[in-house]
Symmetry: C2
DNA sequence: ATTACTACCGGAAACGTTCCCGAAAATGGT
DNA sequence: ACCATTTTCGGGAACGTTTCCGGTAGTAAT
């Protein structure tokens, strides 16, 4: 019932509390034998140091907060898993909050986290324009923050990004090389710089191959958005040869309406996605998609954050750009 | 930089520490005026009680832990969102951990949470057999726990369940009524009672309609499992008229290999899923599936837990069974 | 034998709260 | 004016650690 404390262990062994403490944090002078003895008895008694008391004395919460726009799609959960992997190993706890795509709840989430004295924050924004003032204050007050993927450039923090330009370029080039030269881009939400970068890559590939740049259609990032964009495409009766979507949900939504209307993929229209969701390989046809290193994103964001936390004071924000990969599958290979 | 503490506030006002404490937890005797004075000055100084110290003295953390098998599929994230909705409103924090489908990490997760003095736990198990002894101890030590979906019957706690029997029955009956009388059930992992209940429902529907009971195939719950089961079905060259899968991932995996092999859905083989993932309505053909009230599950689990935490001592475990719904879509309607 | 280390270890303060206990002040009844 | 009661407050222990400071042995050198 009651937790066994360090005192119980000390009493049982007839040593002092400080000695037991030393046994657990081996930076202090303690004889090897007594240390081993203490450790084994402690284990037998089921003792482990109370994290809360440790936090109090160490004057650190050993908790970091993560806030993401949503986590019903697999992208963010995967980076969370990556982050937890390194953070938990270092003795940190992870508080996860999701903003429901609303910057107001994002603001509230961050405030809750700060009130709870997190040592640092890992954030992906819901909006690049709304909370910047708030974040500036936070940064000025020395709160370590790392942003990832959905970031705002002006903020002076570490960031981990994906090379959206490059991989958008490659994905587009892949379509062109396959012979699909009329490509429409479902670009997602216009306000993100990530969106802009992907558009740049999209255009660059066209220029390189001297193909006329295809249409760019904005909307959200959901299945439904993909469906409605595809429908509007069908309605005006001039289908492109291929669709390059800014994420897999858009792509899958589009595929769904194409197929419902009797179109064959990729014969009638090819499709390429982005961000490689879990199911890209398990739908029909399998979906070509840009794979982001989700796990890596979480890990490097965490490492960056820990670095900043440890080196408080002398620290320069870094931006790390991670690499990806294009998984070519059935939805985009030209069959003659 | 430095946190202002309760002492700073006390010194500034010339009152004692305990008085300031009283001002913040208004259950003790304090004059209204002094309380107001303290509160306003404290606010001006930017003071708020240190949650860590509070946890240490109160031996309560106002934190509840959630541990789920995974959260890359949308099911668990959705119940997490439901749970957070009620918990955060009541001033609780939520610590989320995922067990990666391994009972060892589940055990570690729970231990971490317990070490951190969570006030209660909401758990969905990775295995119904492995950690029961551990959970029994935990329950005996008075830790409030609510299990959901993947539970073990013997444990004396509150549970929130889905009526797997009933909805498996309805889903199967739906197929039979549509004229699909040879139905194979992809049952998922054999060890869960949820699996057993669904099988019972599956059989009961057959009996009611006097149809010979179809085959039951066990395996995991992933896309890959669905694919491999479908392949083994194809290999032996005697296809059932329909497949009823224990979750949508299985169903989608199966649909994928059926379609890859030129089979039409539902003409050649119908498919019904379970647990209604986000994308059931957005793939081709759209997937008939049993919808679970994910949000509700999270909410009721939280309410049950809070009830237990508040009424510590006099408390009887409850089991709440929630209702669902069958979303009939293209993958299972008979076309002649 | 005295000195000078070194290697270990214990005592106790500190972290920031809560809350019990008792004391002082205010109130009320006579 | 006095006692009894209530209201309001301060002192200080407790929560479970870490870590500084000092002290005791033991060893080696003089």
């Amino acid at each position: 019932m009651k937790h066994t404390t360090i005192k119980d262990v000390a009493r049982k062994l007839g040593v002092s509390v400080s000695t037991v403490s030393r046994a657990f944090n081996d930076k202090y002078d303690i004889k090897k034998e007594t240390k081993d003895r203490i450790l084994s008895v402690a284990k037998k008694m089921g003792y482990s140091p109370n994290p809360i008391a440790q936090k109090l004395t160490r004057q650190r919460s050993y908790t970091i907060g993560m806030v993401v726009p949503e986590f019903v799609n697999s992208f963010f959960p995967e980076v969370i898993i990556g982050a937890q992997a390194v953070l938990l190993k270092k003795g940190y706890q992870v508080l996860i909050m999701q903003s429901d795509l609303s910057w107001e709840t994002e603001r509230k989430n961050v405030k809750t986290l700060v009130d709870n004295k997190v040592d640092g924050l890992i954030i992906s924004l819901t909006s690049e324009t709304e909370n910047t003032g708030y974040y500036e204050e936070l940064i000025a007050s020395n709160m370590p923050i790392v942003f990832f993927n959905r970031v705002v450039d002006q903020l002076e923090t570490s960031k981990v990004l994906f090379d959206d330009f490059k991989w958008s370029f490659f994905a587009t080039e892949h379509l062109i090389v396959q012979g699909f030269t009329e490509i429409t881009h479902f670009a997602g939400n216009e306000s993100f710089s990530l969106t802009k970068n992907r558009i740049q890559g999209f255009k660059a590939a066209h220029r390189k191959h001297q193909v006329q740049i295809g249409e760019i259609m904005y909307k959200g990032f959901t299945f439904e958005d993909g469906e409605s964009l595809a429908e509007s495409l069908l309605k005006r009766d001039e289908l492109p040869q291929a669709v390059f979507a800014a994420n897999d949900a858009l792509a899958i939504g589009a595929m769904h309406v194409f197929k419902k209307n009797g179109l064959r993929i990729p014969e009638d229209v090819a499709v390429v996605g982005f961000s490689e969701s879990r199911l890209a390989a398990h739908i029909s046809p399998t979906l070509t998609s840009v794979q982001q290193p989700t796990h890596d994103i979480g890990e490097t964001a965490s490492n960056l954050l820990l670095e900043q936390i440890e080196n408080k004071g002398l620290f320069v924000p870094q931006t790390i750009v991670l690499n990806g990969r294009l998984n070519v599958r059935e939805s985009s290979v030209f069959l003659r």
